[in-house]
């Protein structure tokens, strides 16, 4: 590995001359530079987006946040898109979180180390690496076509379809992060509870879960943030890119039969429409999205720092 004469030579010269290791310093600078280039790209991206989008937000303020889609640049807004994204986040929270946390609990607390358990765990890891567009196909086949045969939903896909598709996409992430949080809880805690006669579920419910809660919450928040920014799968389950209005539809109708859209889809539409003026609207939409993501991630980090325990 290290040539003998190199080391002795270096030691010798270091002791003898006290010369600075310039090549080492340069090397360190090169490495730091890569990190700073990443920072530079991040800053350039945010700067470009804010530069384009801030004037729109400054001009129109809350109106931009509540107005629906329109072909007029001065009237279009992200209102319906935000509403769609929020409702889908709720669907993801209601569906993916319980199932994901439940699956993780099973894998970490209940399952014995058999081939089946290892298969399930490997399967979850693979699902986490599947490109999001493939989940779009799953959504199309299962949550649009198949669902359409059971209940009456919009032909091309409804809010429910979108929410379910995102839930499937996010599920592996929830399982993995929850598993890690559960694994971090030391065995001694469980063993102490078993020692006083608790059943497995009681141990989990009263000791393991509360201890792992900060990690679980952080993980779920991260998963929700990921679902919030996803675009590709929604293209397959009927998210509308053009104009639509939901009229006086009841909430259930909006869920099942109305057109819907999501914030990233709205941004995509505005970015790719012929009229170049819409690009600034797209930038404004991105600013809104980044603010929400930053807030959500910030809360996750705060929660983690506040409640994290070191064992």
């Amino acid at each position: 590995m290290i040539a003998r004469d190199v080391t002795t030579g270096v030691v010798a010269s270091g002791i003898r001359t006290g010369k600075r290791d310039w090549s080492g310093v340069t090397f360190a600078c090169v490495l730091l530079a890569t990190l700073l280039v990443s920072l530079g790209i991040l800053v350039a991206l945010l700067w470009d987006v804010v530069k384009r989008g801030a004037p729109v937000l400054a001009d129109r303020g809350v109106d931009f946040l509540t107005a629906g889609p329109s072909s007029s640049v001065s009237q279009a807004g992200v209102g319906l898109a935000l509403a769609g994204s929020l409702v889908m986040m709720v669907i993801v929270a209601v569906i993916a979180l319980p199932i994901g946390v439940g699956a993780a609990i099973y894998l970490e607390e209940y399952a014995r180390d058999t081939w089946l358990t290892r298969l399930i765990a490997a399967n979850v890891r693979n699902l986490a690496g599947v490109p999001s567009i493939v989940y779009g196909i799953l959504g199309l086949v299962l949550f649009v076509d198949f669902l359409n045969r059971i209940i009456n939903i919009r032909d091309t896909g409804s809010l429910l379809s979108g929410g379910l598709t995102l839930s499937a996409l996010v599920l592996p992430i929830v399982i993995i992060t929850t598993s890690e949080a559960l694994r971090a809880v030391p065995k001694s805690l469980r063993e102490a509870a078993f020692g006083v006669g608790a059943t497995r579920w009681e141990v989990i419910r009263h000791h393991v879960l509360p201890a792992a809660a900060p990690g679980i919450v952080t993980g779920t928040v991260v998963s929700l943030a990921r679902a919030f920014g996803e675009t590709a799968p929604l293209l397959f389950v009927g998210a509308v890119r053009g104009f639509f209005s939901t009229g006086n539809a009841t909430f259930l109708e909006k869920l099942f039969t109305s057109g819907y859209t999501a914030l990233p889809i709205q941004i995509l539409f505005w970015s790719t429409v012929p009229n170049p003026e819409f690009k600034s609207l797209a930038a404004a939409g991105i600013v809104v999205m980044m603010v929400i993501l930053l807030a959500v991630n910030g809360i996750a980090i705060w929660l983690r720092n506040r409640y994290e325990r070191t064992w």
Binding site: A67, F244, S245, G247, T272
Partner: protein, 351 residues
């Protein structure tokens, strides 16, 4: 544990808040309705089809929604051809079309039991564009268009490659030796079909000995896109680019692109609202809406929507969207078609 419970409650509270917010904000969707008129329709209307007609239908839908805040309207523009597939499966109520329905599509509609009526609603001129830096190209005739776009031009990487073919088919030729980068609609687009039709590509091809099944097509090796914005950006992005889109999109770009004059035999004509309306621009075409008449009978909102479309207030969207209005006799004819189709409507003839 206390912390556990408070987290649970905050999640539940956030969820409820989100639902309430979603429910509330969707009420004020499009915009505050100024005109308290309208018939207060509450049903739904699904419009799809041509991306060229999309801006018009979208504007009509928005104005309609202002007066009928309770109606559910959605407008999309995947392309005339794709739109007809949906329309003839009964999945949409109205199909926007930048060309007339083709025999196979009409047959599909008939087989699926979809009855429809077609109304001409506006005019468009297919605008051939190039980059402003390509100043040598100002006017092209049908022969030139064939030499640059036609089925025999596959492989022509620079403008001058097309000179020989242009000479053969009566084009002016004299193209510079610049890279020929073409961005234009593809087969799913009605604009593609209209272009082939209006520039006489098929006839010229058959004359030149191209087999019939390949004659009504453009060269296969250009960058095609159903997205007009991709086309515009492609033109702006390359110095010697070439392409075509609907007039409204081209006009909106101002000085970013150069509109090429077309010589249909009577001299070079610049595409403009006037030349399109009076027909002097050779590549003018009509825009239509196809309406599913069975659905009109069962859906009062749809009937009300088309009534609005054909009314003065509705049809104004054509010019608002930068397209060209049809002459008043043809507008009357369209209105008559509609009145006949739905047995007496409220569309008023133009004064």
């Amino acid at each position: 544990m206390k912390m556990n419970r408070s987290i649970r409650w905050s999640v539940v509270a956030a969820a409820l808040l989100a639902i309430v917010a979603a429910g509330c904000s969707s009420k004020s969707d499009t915009s505050t309705s100024g005109t308290a008129g309208g018939t207060g329709m509450t049903g739904s209307v699904d419009v799809s089809g041509s991306s060229t007609v999309l801006p018009i239908s979208q504007l009509v839908a928005e104005n309609f929604s202002n007066d009928n805040a309770d109606a559910q309207v959605s407008v999309d523009g995947p392309g005339t051809g794709d739109g007809f597939v949906l329309f003839c499966e009964g999945k949409t109520d109205i199909n926007d079309a930048s060309r007339q329905i083709e025999p196979e599509e009409a047959k599909a509609c008939k087989q699926a039991g979809v009855n429809y009526v077609a109304m001409e609603i506006g005019l468009d001129g297919i605008t051939v564009m190039t980059n402003p830096a390509n100043s040598q190209i100002t006017c092209l005739n049908d022969g030139d268009l064939y030499a640059l776009f036609g089925p025999q031009s596959e492989g022509f990487g620079s403008w001058s490659d097309a000179n020989a073919l242009a000479a053969k088919v009566g084009g002016k030729g004299n193209f510079p030796d610049e890279p020929l980068s073409i961005v234009a609609p593809g087969e799913e687009s009605g604009t593609y079909d209209s272009f082939i039709d209006l520039a006489g590509i098929e006839d010229t091809a058959i004359e030149q000995g191209v087999p019939e099944d390949k004659a009504a097509a453009l060269r296969a090796d250009y960058q095609s896109s159903p997205n007009d914005s991709v086309i515009i950006q492609g033109i702006e992005g390359s110095n010697s680019s070439l392409g075509f889109v609907g007039f409204a999109y081209a006009d909106q770009q101002g000085d970013q692109i150069d509109k090429v004059q077309i010589d249909g035999g009577d001299g070079c004509v610049e595409p403009s609202a006037d030349t399109i309306r009076d027909g002097s621009y050779p590549l003018s075409r009509s825009l239509y809406i196809y309406v599913n008449t069975d659905k009109v009978a069962s859906n009062p909102t749809l009937k009300s929507f088309v009534d609005y479309y054909m009314s003065d207030a509705g049809i104004a969207a054509v010019t608002d969207a930068d397209y060209v209005a049809i002459p008043s006799e043809r507008l009357d004819a369209s209105r008559q078609t509609w009145t006949n189709a739905e047995g007496g409507g409220s569309a008023s003839p133009s004064a």
